[in-house]
């Protein structure tokens, strides 16, 4: 525009003025040029102001938090009756660990609201609406923004930083269901009411150290009729640390270790025979996790690969109460159990991924002291469950995904459950950001 204007002036000057222009006209021309230049600048500024103004939302709703909704639906074909689902060799967690219902069903819908509260805090609420028409608070926490030296504090209800997958929302999982290890050791997914302090080291690589104190509202601290621990103070404690970084120009890695310690009080479970048992004692869980993500030049758009694995080891000791006939018997109980999963997911062309997961649990050693008898606890009889899972998914945009998954699940000692899932997961509203 600027060039056009000066050009026009120059042409006008060339045509309209005789060859011997006076010094005065030269001055005038200069002044005119300056005026045009200024006008040009003002027009540009005005344009800019207009655009800025038009992009500014004027309503009160501009202060609304970012809202997003996750919808998912599933078709399940299960060769075994899901009502008889159990993971043999392990204490039932009473969590949501089963493969769901047969046929077509609506998955759990999620409603997430998040915004900065002020310059000190950020608030997040994630509600889950179950297909059975109940609403639950999956996460609801505040998080500090203004602490210095790499510290952050989170308070409220949040997914505990125990292991890797536990912190990730189900809609962002690479498979339809959680690994067996997460099911038996964390009751599928542990969200604790509590407080978390985390520190990120000022190092050239990533290193965090954190501690969580919780109420102990869920397995392994509590399950069943007794409900969460009824006590002042802390019902569950977790410490964790992670290190991570890059290898070369395409591989990012992170590995961590966490230790969850709880002291369950009357944690009950019902044996398949209908007997109610309860455990009081100590439960200590170690989790070692690792994740590796590769993408050429860190550009995951076309191809990328993700390798993820976790190893769990739990030791429980205390008293087990066995009540078959109304006459309770209590005796000592000790168990050391472990399990792991390893999974790889490969995006071979844009939008398309395939993945495989291997699960294995080791029921380890359980010992019962008199008057208890191992034969009274059939669910705890030694058995090592395994599971093979393959999946393929298609994500036509950042906001939608359709997945087909097959699994051969040997959670039950007597039968193999062949599972087929066809699932969609979509997100509406605010653009999400996913954890590494």
């Amino acid at each position: 525009m600027h060039r056009k204007a000066t050009m026009a002036l120059a042409v006008a000057a060339a045509l309209g003025l005789p060859h011997a222009a006076t010094a005065q006209t030269q001055d005038e021309l200069k002044a005119l040029r300056e005026q045009v230049r200024q006008l040009d600048r003002r027009v540009t500024e005005a344009e800019q102001a207009a655009i800025q103004a038009s992009s500014r939302p004027a309503s009160e709703s501009a202060m609304n938090p970012a809202v997003s909704v996750i919808l998912n639906g599933i078709y399940s074909n299960l060769s075994q009756d899901p009502n008889g689902f159990r993971i043999n060799g392990f204490v039932p967690t009473l969590g949501d660990v089963g493969p769901g219902v047969r046929g077509l069903s609506l998955g759990e819908s999620e409603l997430a609201l998040a915004a900065n509260v002020d310059h000190n805090f950020r608030g997040t609420l994630i509600a889950s609406i179950s297909p059975e028409d109940s609403i639950g608070v999956e996460e609801g926490y505040i998080q500090t923004l203004s602490l210095s030296y790499g510290f952050t504090i989170k308070a409220g209800r949040f997914f505990s930083a125990v292991g890797y997958q536990n912190q990730i929302h189900a809609h962002a999982w690479d498979f339809t269901d959680a690994p067996l290890a997460n099911k038996v050791f964390l009751g599928n997914q542990l969200n604790e009411d509590g407080i978390q302090l985390k520190w990120v080291a000022p190092a050239s690589f990533y290193w965090d150290v954190g501690v969580e104190a919780g109420r102990g509202r869920q397995f392994p601290a509590a399950a069943g009729a007794a409900g969460p621990r009824n006590k002042n103070g802390v019902g569950s404690g977790n410490v964790f640390t992670h290190v991570g970084g890059d290898f070369g120009t395409g591989t990012a890695w992170q590995t961590g270790v966490s230790y969850l310690s709880t002291s369950p009080q009357d944690r009950t479970f019902e044996d398949p025979t209908g007997t109610t048992n309860s455990f009081t004692g100590q439960s200590r869980l170690w989790v070692l996790d690792g994740i590796l993500k590769w993408a050429p030049n860190f550009n995951p758009t076309y191809t990328n690969f993700k390798l993820q694995g976790e190893y769990f080891r739990r030791r429980e000791n205390g008293d087990l109460t066995f009540d078959a006939t109304g006459a309770a018997q209590t005796g000592g109980f000790t168990s050391t159990q472990s399990g792991f999963y390893l999974q790889g997911v490969y995006q071979f062309v844009p939008m398309w991924r395939v993945g495989y997961r291997y699960d294995r649990l080791n029921s380890g050693n359980s010992s019962f002291s008199a008057p208890l008898n191992a034969a009274d606890f059939p669910i705890l009889a030694a058995y090592n469950p395994t599971k093979h899972t393959v999946m393929a998914d298609w994500s036509p945009s950042e906001f939608s995904r359709v997945r087909l998954q097959f699994a051969s699940d040997k959670s039950r000692s007597d039968v193999t459950d062949h599972q087929v899932f066809l699932q969609y997961i979509v997100s509406l509203g605010a653009h999400g950001a996913h954890k590494f």
Binding site: Q52, V209, A252
Partner: protein, 301 residues
């Protein structure tokens, strides 16, 4: 709890001296802003670019190494307008660094300093991955760099008053050289005026607007949606009726779709650097525009 805190403090003292302590630690989301901060800061700043020209700045993982970098940053420079929405919010909340949070002087969004193009009138995901704040790729118009530089210079001076004079002097020198370069580029790009161009993604809109080129189509059917066979077939038809003169794509795009259209419609495809480091010659901001213009002129002639 007490022992854990003591443990944390002990750990911190062992690693606290690790990163080099330059006057100002700059974390740039994209290479163009790293280059600009380097121009203005010289040896008074230590600049880290989170991405390279081979990455799509919208699709970045919030990797642990990036959190570590943000942890020690004094100044974060991003394009903004939601370009980095999938990863920057996580880096901010995970870093435990109050200096670079939204609203702090250490948080600088380049696109907020200039008039944005393509602010959508309707906002709906059916339109693709559009940004409500307008097109975020503002750096492809050198006049925008000239507008952003003084604001960034002042921000750096505010954060590091001891070196304020140095930033202002370097800024002044840069702007003089930059204005001269713009004048030169504007002459060079005269032949590009009115030239119809097919883009891969809408990341050249500002360049097109500046040079007076005309966008005749894009390989992506909708912003952020990868090219599909049916859309490419439509484009080929469209090119038969009204051929474009050139197809441009960025180093982070796969050349396949551009080459396919190029061979079917007989239109040259050219990779332009898009940002600093995108080609060998795009070593700095000056090289970026020199090489972009040179590559286009060779193709269009």
């Amino acid at each position: 709890m007490k022992t854990i805190l003591r443990f944390v403090v002990a750990l911190s003292s062992t690693v606290i001296a690790l990163p080099a302590t330059a006057a100002l630690n700059v974390f740039a989301c994209e290479p163009e802003w790293a280059a600009l901060a380097q121009e203005l800061g010289g040896d008074r700043v230590s600049v880290y670019s989170a991405t390279t020209a081979l990455q799509d700045p919208h699709r970045i993982e919030a990797r642990p190494s990036l959190i570590a970098r943000v942890r020690s940053a004094d100044l974060l420079i991003c394009s903004g307008s939601e370009l980095e929405i999938g990863w920057i919010p996580l880096l901010l909340t995970q870093s435990g660094n109050p200096r670079i949070q939204l609203g702090s002087p250490g948080y600088f969004e380049a696109s907020q300093q200039v008039a944005r193009l393509e602010i959508p009138k309707a906002i709906d995901r059916a339109l693709g991955d559009i940004h409500p704040g307008g097109n975020p790729h503002v750096h492809t118009d050198p006049r925008n760099i000239a507008r952003i530089a003084p604001a960034l210079m002042e921000r750096m001076a505010q954060l590091d008053p001891a070196n304020a004079e140095s930033y202002r002097q370097r800024g002044k020198s840069f702007l003089e050289r930059w204005q001269a370069a713009i004048a030169r580029w504007e002459q060079q790009t005269t032949p590009l005026k009115g030239v119809p161009v097919v883009v891969y993604h809408k990341d050249f809109s500002y360049f097109i607007n500046w040079t007076g080129m005309r966008e005749a189509g894009s390989l992506e059917p909708k912003p952020g949606i990868p090219p599909t066979p049916s859309h490419l077939a439509e484009l080929i038809d469209q090119m038969k009726r009204a051929p474009a003169k050139v197809i441009v794509y960025s180093p982070y795009n796969s050349p396949q779709a551009a080459e396919f259209l190029s061979s079917r419609a007989n239109i040259p495809a050219v990779m332009v650097p898009f940002t600093v480091g995108g080609t060998d010659k795009a070593k700095d901001l000056f090289g970026l525009f020199d090489d972009t213009i040179a590559r286009l002129l060779v193709t269009v002639k």
